[in-house]
Amino acid sequence: MKRNYFKTVIIFIAIVGLFISAHALAAPKKLVIGHPACLSGKYAKAGEQAMGGIKACTDWVNTVYGGVLLGGKRIPLEYKYYDCESKKEAVTSLIGRLVTVNKVNVIFSPYSSGLTLRGAPVTESHQMLYMDHGGANNKIFQQGFRYIVQTIGPGSSYHEGTLDMIHHIDPKAKKVALAYEDSEFAKSVMHGAEKHAKELGFNVVFARTYPKGVTDLTPLLSALKASNPDFILGGGHFEDGQLFNRQMADLDIDTNALSLIAAATLPAFYKALTSMAEGVMGPSHWEYGVKYSAQGAQKVGLPWIGPSQDEFVALFKKALGKEMIPDYHAAEAGAQVLAYVLAVEKANSFNSDKVRAALGDLTFMSFYGGWDVDETGLQVGHSMVNVQWQMGKRVIVWPEEAQTGDPCYPLPTFAEKAKGKVAVPR
């Protein structure tokens, strides 16, 4: 009798074990991207764009590409997101929920370096692949995290193109002022800009930070004005970028060039500041009008994947149900979907370790441009462009090979702008 019981238990355990292992080894019916998205709070603008980009490329993968090829079968890609309200504490809890409750296969980071960094230890603890389209701070990749891979470019390179451009078009410009938000991301941009400026022979006459959530920059800008720079680089995020430009106008701080990170490339920046935003530049990871194509990819020997630029724009509008042109936040999030799909196919697995290893070896080109990461996961294959507001439109002014128009340099004064003068190319 006893022996029969024992036999039954052994057989039961064996059947359950077989069932579990078969279930675990079988290809899933779908792949799910999990995303703590910033749909409200201070990063809502960028968060909405990122969500649109991810939805657009997921749509393309499922309807045009035919799904993700895994184990000889094409399976659909799904997108599961929650609003993290741009709050750090929500990011950590939502990642936990996406991994344990929703059983997603990969986590896409929220917007901003601070939020991305906050989520990284959580994904590491779950041994879950963490793809970063929103955190540019180099420090994220110096912490020894194993599962993080970046699509957005590193912060240290944001203002390199702007400095190169001014060095090229105005050899007489020598004095640069740097004023950035006191955030991890903005400080990494500032350190990169300071280093590159010195390499190019510029004299950094002002280098200060201002706190997050600042509502009045007058004291800092008064000191900046006194340093009498030839041009100004700065910013942090959207809200302080708006304030920076507005209060420069209030204090009549006229300069040859002004470049603000994150804020100046968004349509809402011009909408809020109108004529005061004329001529303001911003570095961008992508801009509508860039000329990346399958033919271009072939020329440089990179495989091409994804929709064309116009197809992406159409899918983005469909995804959000709005007549809105995507910005770089959308493009980099969308390109990240493509990188994930390629890596899963390359690894022929959805296991985070295997996909992470495949991402390390992956290089490709899409509508977003090049994609390649170093051994820490830092993006090294993507080049940025510089965008300038000219006559109410965004024009790519640098690098020369990507230009859709010449730069306006020097800028009209704020008094001239108040009278209706617009930024006209040289």
């Binding site: 809502a44 201002y210 509502t215 708006q242 507005r246 209030d250 809020a272």
Partner: protein, 306 residues
Amino acid sequence: MPNKCINEDFRMVLEQLAGNLIQGLVLGAVYGMATMGLSLIFGVLKVVNVGHGAFIMVGAFITLWLFNALGINPILAIPVAFVIGMGLGFIFYYTTMQRLIKAPELATLLATFSIGILLEEFIKLIFGSEFRGYNWVVGKIDIGITVFPMTKLYACIGSALIAALLYMWFNKTRAGSAVRSVVEDSEGARVCGVNVGGAYALSFSLGIGLTVASGVLLTMFIPVGINPYMGGGYTLKAFVIAVLGGLSSPYGAFFGGLVFGLIENGSYTIFALLPGVEPFALTRFLSFVILLVILLIKPTGILSRK
């Protein structure tokens, strides 16, 4: 030659300091106005309105909407915002606060906190959560050491005028006297025939009206960054200013605002002289050190009579 350089540097620092102090004074007047509502409500009802910043945000959105959608001058938005604010004040008083006047302090704290969140989410529902702004250009005044857009001066003058009007209302009208009597001794006022409940309702709605109107003045000073969650920073500043000026005195709050503006802007130039220091971070630090010191030395505020 080195002496000439030192003199030149010293002159520049003095110029910057003077310019920042004047800017601070102008900003401080608006900060003061933005705190008067908080102090009035605390002074009369002994209610700490932790949703204060949300009412400022409502004022900012009223200005934005009137200017962008209807082209109405922000100066004209001040009375509109004040009336809407008073209306909101009456609604929240009779639906919520009236029942909580005698309740423990935690109940009123939670109630005003909830009202603040309610307003933020309601505005988000209508306008969305992005940061907005408007561009009202009406010229500038250059005084040599600094430049003032006229909008900032209008905001400063408007704040001073409203503070003066409130002072006159309190001291020259029967309604103002009634409210003052309730502040002094509510039971005594009731015995003398003052409608204490009415005085509470009027004070609460007046406080909210002033706060919403201050949202207009703040956007005249800083016309960008308008979003449903913008009020949090102002609530924090308002508490510092209110304590600085005397928590239950609206006029004290106005002068507290002036002092706060001067500290915030003036100290930047001084801290900037210290090598290896980020002056902006220290100005905030100093504000809260001053708050702590005042709380320790004179908890009723430096300008309060008690």
